[in-house]
């Protein structure tokens, strides 16, 4: 009954709202089935964590010298994915790339939701999670872990604000339409009426935030790289790790956006918002990132190989031809060869092509973190020390699956509460066509092209 009312109201709204607000009031059975399956995985993971908490980290496959494993790999991976949204959306906003308008919201939402699942990973990894607050009470600022606590805290806060502020006009639209939970949206819209003054303020705040989040985002993954680089361990102690981690993070982030876009497009029939041009342009960015990633990986491994320090070489050969050769070469395939081949051709820079490349990059980037954490851990610098090994237990695999499922579930549920494409930005995009044409015309020299009069 209520839904019929809401649908009737929706039918009277403009076309953008009709398409983009539809998921808020209409849910397919497929959504419920998927959500239930994901929820079951989350519960299973929670049970696995209960066992770990009760009996100790002995329930994992970790040992000495393999002190860090799946949880730390997932920590780096999830926080890496979070670079999708905010960084891409901020860079595109700052550079006034008009094609960004339909993709920023879905990307920013990935960021905010995945940070949480990344940030809990080191806590899952703690021997004494009950003493977590010692990080505040007995903080030692010399520890890179503390730098990380601060930068991730700052990043989460700024990204949440950066997601919320540009959402205000859309929340106000939902509030005014009365199609869903009027009191909730009345609260969330925070009195936004879309007056010219409010709109001008909104744009100014967004402009400021877009610039502020860029250095914060870069600091986050730099510091995660530094956690490893600050130790004296072979193939961790590398000055390249800060930027290498940032590049890898953006690479996996773009992959995550593309996969999410393909799924959203299919599920909510957003073909008119996620157009071939979006996949083409993001595909080009992925191409650049795969080349940059390969450049860093090559530089890192060549330097180690050429220097040929015995301790470093044990780790190096373990990766290249030894016990970890399979994950190492699948990583190269996933992070470089597959995205490079697919994204270098216009014919495969389509939704389907980017979906395949995106999945390949995500698998490759997870393995990249595996190849950083595990081979170094099992090859301690003092060579007399016996070489270790690592086989993750079902507890670790379950918790990892639960974290991934939890993220997807939360993302799905979020699409039921906020339009996944920013309605006001799409509309604004249509209004500013004339202005953008003028701006683009200004790029060219006045001698080549007749400039429209009153050039600002």
């Amino acid at each position: 009954m209520r839904r019929d009312e809401a649908m009737a109201k929706l039918a009277t709204m403009p076309p953008d709202e009709r398409v983009l607000l539809r998921p808020l009031i209409e849910t397919s059975p497929g959504f419920y089935y998927t959500a239930a399956a994901l929820g079951a995985v989350v519960l299973w993971g929670a049970f696995a964590y209960y066992l770990q908490l009760r009996y100790g980290l002995g329930r994992t496959g970790l040992n000495r010298p393999e002190y860090w494993g799946i949880y730390i790999i997932c920590f780096v991976f999830f926080i890496g994915i979070s670079h999708a949204g905010t960084l891409i959306s901020a860079i595109l906003r700052v550079s006034q790339a008009e094609w960004r308008r339909s993709i920023t919201r879905s990307a920013e939402l990935i960021t905010v939701l995945v940070i949480g699942f990344g940030a809990i990973q080191p806590i899952l990894d703690l021997g004494r999670p009950d003493r977590l607050l010692n990080v505040i009470f007995h903080a030692q600022m010399r520890s890179p872990l503390l730098w990380d606590v601060i930068s991730i805290g700052l990043y989460f806060t700024s990204c949440t604000i950066y997601l919320y502020i540009p959402m205000l006009p859309d929340l106000a639209v939902i509030r005014d339409s009365g199609i869903k939970m009027p009191r909730l949206y009345g609260f969330l819209a925070a009195g936004y009426r879309d007056t010219p003054v409010q709109r001008a303020r909104l744009e100014r705040v967004i402009g400021f935030l877009a610039i502020a989040v860029i250095p914060i985002a870069i600091s986050v993954h730099t510091i995660i790289g530094w956690i490893f680089a600050m130790t004296l361990r072979p193939m961790w102690h590398s000055t390249i790790f800060g930027p290498y981690f940032v590049i890898g993070a953006i690479h996996s982030g773009i992959a995550a956006i593309l996969v999410a876009m393909v799924i959203l497009r299919r599920a909510y029939r957003l073909e008119q918002y996620f157009k071939p041009v979006h996949f083409d342009y993001l595909g080009r960015m992925m191409l650049v990132m795969s080349l940059l990633w390969f450049y860093f990986t090559f530089a890192e491994h060549l330097t180690v190989f050429y220097g040929a320090e015995p301790a470093e070489m044990r780790t190096f050969w373990a990766k290249v031809t030894g016990k970890y050769a399979v994950p190492f070469w699948i990583m190269n395939l996933g992070c470089f060869f597959i995205p490079f081949v697919l994204m270098a051709r216009r014919a495969t820079r389509t939704a389907k092509g980017t979906l395949i490349a995106g999945i390949a990059v995500m698998i490759g980037m997870w393995l990249e973190r595996y190849n950083i954490v595990v081979p170094t851990s099992v090859n301690p610098i003092w060579e007399i020390e016996a070489v270790g090994r690592y086989l993750p237990s079902w507890i670790e695999i379950s918790i990892m699956s639960a974290a991934a499922s939890g993220f997807i579930l939360l993302y799905m549920v979020s699409t039921k509460f906020v339009p996944i494409v920013s309605i006001w930005e799409i509309k604004e995009g249509r209004e500013v066509v004339a202005e953008v044409t003028r701006r683009v015309a200004r790029y060219s020299s006045a001698h080549d092209i007749p400039t429209p009069q009153e050039d600002g």
Partner: protein, 227 residues
């Protein structure tokens, strides 16, 4: 200034592992099952490492008893987010079990891999349980532990010396491993006190330290075996 340190004469070490056993019983080190030990979960603050050179029968074997190096410039204490591992004014690198959050960053930072993690709560055989050392706290599950140079013995020796109104002598404070070593391969004392044997031995031409070029300044010195 006192700087407690150790000299291990590899020429005298027979690899009997009495130091390991003495350390385990002195410091209430938990026993793990054989399966756990196979999985890399065994705990041994003092560990006799073996290095085999050459192929049988033309081979030689070298034993390296390996406690915590108690570095003067310890990489482990810098990375701890909560100051649960620290260096005291006499150079002993200690652990605060009650504060450790179990992140194992220090374990990864240590180039000598001397840090042990309590993967499970500690367990002892019933026969061992009755002989736990009351001077050493047992560690709960989820925290890092390692060799303390039997720091509790120093506290006791200090008290005794004070009660008897005399200076602390070299023999007053000896860790369990040094005390038990049947060949006298482990020598312990104040590296800065010229009256202590370690002060002289560390200047021996055979003296070396592990991974010296890392700049960690370990306070455990080894005397190379004569060939």
């Amino acid at each position: 200034m006192t700087r407690w340190g150790m000299v291990i004469d590899l020429d005298r070490c027979t690899g009997c592992a009495a130091c390991e056993v003495a350390c385990k019983s002195e410091n209430n080190i938990a026993t793990v099952s054989p399966e756990q030990a196979d999985g890399g979960r065994a705990m041994s603050w003092m560990k006799v490492m073996t290095e085999v050179e050459g192929e049988f029968p033309e081979n030689t074997m070298q034993f390296f008893p390996r406690p915590c190096m108690h570095c003067d410039n310890p990489p482990c204490i810098r990375v701890c987010p909560v100051v649960a591992t620290y260096k005291d004014e006499e150079g002993i690198v200690g652990q605060i079990y009650a504060r450790c959050i179990g992140c194992r960053y220090c374990a990864n930072a240590c180039p000598y891999t001397v840090k042990y993690f309590n993967w499970y709560g500690p367990e002892w055989a019933e026969s061992e349980r009755r002989h736990l050392n009351p001077d050493v706290s047992v560690r709960p599950k989820g925290v890092i532990e390692k060799c303390s140079f039997c720091h509790h013995r120093l506290q006791k020796a200090r008290e005794d010396a004070r009660a008897e109104e005399r200076e602390l002598r070299e023999e007053d404070y000896q860790p369990a491993c040094a005390e038990i070593c049947p060949t006298g391969a482990i020598i312990f004392g104040d590296l800065d006190d010229p009256n202590h044997r370690v002060a002289e031995l560390k200047e021996d031409p055979r003296a070396m330290r592990l991974l010296e070029d890392l700049g960690t300044e370990p306070k455990v010195h080894y005397l190379r075996a004569r060939q």
